[in-house]
């Protein structure tokens, strides 16, 4: 490990720093390096010692194919680290805004792209949300089972009594909610998890839970569900393990929708639900690919349910232990013409008993502390920008500063849409660099004694994780703490 380095001040290179090494940051770097005709020096900064952000710590462990973008990033890094035309550098374990100020970074670079994603949680803002044992945000829960060093060994999760978890509520029905439902429902199916890179300490906890039912609760109706068809299909397909789904007739039944009004994805979603809700033998062939076990063969009965038009209003806990006992919800209705959610006063509140509650309302963008002082605009959970060019608080262009991915648009969209976004923003950076004179101020970022990782360090960490995984018959065994990561490259 190298302890003292300067960001090289190569003559003739336009210098671009990217803040964050997740798909948004890395796809921006990839595009810049592949498309720029003028020589550039791209530095990707990452808060953690390890790269890839949500691809590594967000994507579900049973979706390894979604993480294949990491191969593209690795190929890109290896190629441009020793390229004749451009330069590439990865600096891990350094937080922009903390050890290195954004202000200084802007001084030293020709362009800075903010790609640090959404680092906070959207909240319910109801009583009991933060002080009840058994209530977790989706971000924390996902980071936990993916071995994120910030939370992988958090006692709140490790010491929670998983053996008492039978009924689960998930608030929100985006793909993260679906991932969480799938992982919880299949917690004891080794065939799914054994070979993945799921955190083994998390899996051990989860396996203890004798789960019976998972409710996926949306505040709007079926039409406004946020999940995509792939994730919904995966849930239905759990029936081959004896895990069955249902939707109340009030929220979904055949012939409920005038399909000519809807797009293809919705039509397919309706068909999928109609078919899977039918008895097995009566379905079209695409919906009976995997035989389902007969009820007598299923020893622990498990169900999941899509629930709609409900808003949580109160989390109820045991006064002695602070443990979650139930969730009170009020009914909603949608008011035309804009389908605004309003409380349905005619229906009485309901109380769902539950042992685990996951709030999956989406990730929230958090402004860097320096934004205020620098006059950088930030609104509705993302950096104020016009086509990726960052705006000031007074809506003028902020010189040299860009944003891509979730911190530009909010926490929506799959890796493919983040890629498109990163490419578009990359194009604008290149466009601007062509006309903009190079930074005249010769200011140099000095990493001094700041402990950090390089790309070569990551390659070593990666090899070690893959090796440890192989020994355990898994794809990879992630290091679960910063200390373990850094120790692996000490010698």
């Amino acid at each position: 490990m190298i302890w003292r380095r300067h960001l090289s001040t190569g003559q003739g290179y336009k210098k671009i720093s990217i803040v964050g090494s997740g798909p948004a940051g890395f796809f921006t770097a990839y595009h810049l390096l592949n498309k720029s005709k003028i020589p550039i020096h791209v530095t990707v900064w990452e808060k953690l010692p390890t790269p890839f952000g949500l691809s590594r710590y967000g994507v579900a462990p049973d979706h390894p194919e979604v993480k294949n973008c990491e191969e593209t990033f690795t190929e890109c890094a290896r190629k441009f680290i020793s390229d004749k035309h451009h330069k590439f550098e990865f600096i891990g374990g350094v937080e922009i805004g903390n050890q290195i100020k954004l202000k200084d970074l802007l001084k030293s670079q020709d362009a800075v792209v903010l790609s640090y994603g959404c680092t906070g949680d959207k909240k319910l803002h109801i009583p009991g949300e933060t002080d009840t044992s058994g209530v977790f945000s989706s971000r924390n829960f996902v980071n936990w089972y993916n071995g994120h060093p910030d939370i992988a060994q958090d006692p709140k999760l490790l010491d929670f009594e998983w053996s008492k978890v039978k009924n689960i509520g998930i608030i929100g029905n985006g793909n993260v909610a679906m991932d969480i439902a799938r992982i919880l429902l299949s917690n004891r199916i080794d065939a799914i998890w054994k070979h993945t890179d799921i955190s083994s300490v998390a899996l051990e906890c989860l396996r203890n839970a004798p789960i019976e039912n998972v409710k996926i609760i949306g505040r709007r109706d079926f039409v406004h569900s946020k999940f995509t068809n792939k994730e919904l299909r995966e849930l239905w397909q759990l029936e081959r393990y004896g895990i069955f789904g249902k939707i109340d007739k009030e929220y979904f039944h055949d012939g409920m929708f005038d399909l000519s009004q809807f797009d293809r994805a919705f039509k397919r979603r309706v068909e999928m639900c109609s078919e899977y809700l039918k008895p097995f033998t009566q379905r079209k062939k695409n919906f009976k690919k995997f035989p389902i076990p007969s009820p007598s063969d299923v020893y622990d009965k498990r169900t999941w349910e899509l629930d709609y038009l409900l808003s949580p209003i109160k989390i109820n806990k045991c006064p002695q232990t602070s443990r979650l006992e139930s969730l009170t919800l009020s009914h909603n209705k949608l008011a035309l013409p804009e389908n605004k959610v309003i409380k349905d006063e005619e229906k009485a509140d309901v109380e769902y008993p539950m042992d685990l509650l996951i709030t999956s309302l989406g990730y929230a963008g958090i402004p860097l502390e320096e934004f205020n002082a620098l006059g950088i605009g930030f609104e509705r959970g993302h950096v104020a920008n016009k086509q990726g060019r960052v705006l000031t608080t007074t809506n003028d262009l902020y010189p040299k500063l860009y944003a891509s991915g979730w911190i530009r648009k909010g926490s929506q969209g799959v890796i493919a849409s983040t890629m498109e976004d990163a490419f578009e923003v990359g194009d604008r950076v290149i466009q601007d660099l062509f006309v903009q004179p190079s930074t005249t101020e010769s200011f140099d970022i000095n990493l001094g004694k700041i402990r950090h990782t390089t790309w070569a360090d990551w390659e070593r960490i990666n090899r070690q994780e893959l090796k440890n995984g192989k020994e355990e018959g898994k794809k990879r065994t992630k290091f679960l703490s910063i200390e373990d990561i850094m120790n692996s490259i000490k010698s």
Partner: protein, 175 residues
């Protein structure tokens, strides 16, 4: 020469999307694949295939032809072997097609629009491909994922267009 500008449909409210998909498909038929449309001179560049290791060199006499209509309307025709996917062919020839998931049908970045004359000759898409196509920008009725379409004698001469990502009027840009 013309510029294909689709992708707009993804910006419309869900309820409007379906009719505009049909509209854009009609446009496709009229513009991209109409042989009367004046296109840029097509390049025959079989030589470039040899540069790339992972594309097999076709056995003489068994070459299959595939034509890509690029985002700017230019056409490129290649001679390839049976079994190569459209994604491999495009990437092997440095065309602008990404395979973010490495060709494993887990994203929609290798979306192509197939000439309707060839569409029915390709084996039908599986559910997982359709699930991904649901998320593709500028979806048409003859859209496929490049990673799932393998060259065969049945589709010799196939023509596919790369959708242009002209999302200049994205709502987010005005936020």
């Amino acid at each position: 020469m013309f510029k294909v500008t689709i992708g707009i449909t993804s910006l419309l409210p869900r309820r409007m999307a379906s009719s505009s998909i049909q509209a854009s498909t009609t446009l496709m038929r009229q513009h991209i694949f109409n042989s009367n449309t004046k296109l840029t001179i097509s390049h025959f560049s079989t030589s470039s295939i040899l540069r790339h290791g992972h594309l097999k060199k076709p056995v003489p006499g068994e070459e299959l032809k595939v034509t890509f209509v690029l985002k700017d309307g230019e056409q490129k025709t290649y001679e390839v072997s049976e079994g190569e996917t459209l994604l491999d062919i495009a990437q092997g020839n440095d065309l602008d097609m990404e395979g973010a998931c490495g060709g494993s049908c887990a994203c929609s970045t290798c979306h192509v629009i197939v000439d309707p004359d060839y569409y029915d000759a390709i084996p039908e898409p599986e559910d997982d491909e359709n699930d991904m196509l649901d998320l593709a920008y500028g979806l048409t009725e003859t859209s496929r994922l490049g990673c799932q379409v393998k060259m065969s004698k049945d589709i010799d001469g196939i023509r596919v267009a790369l959708p242009a990502m002209t999302r200049n009027v994205n709502n987010n840009d005005f936020k």
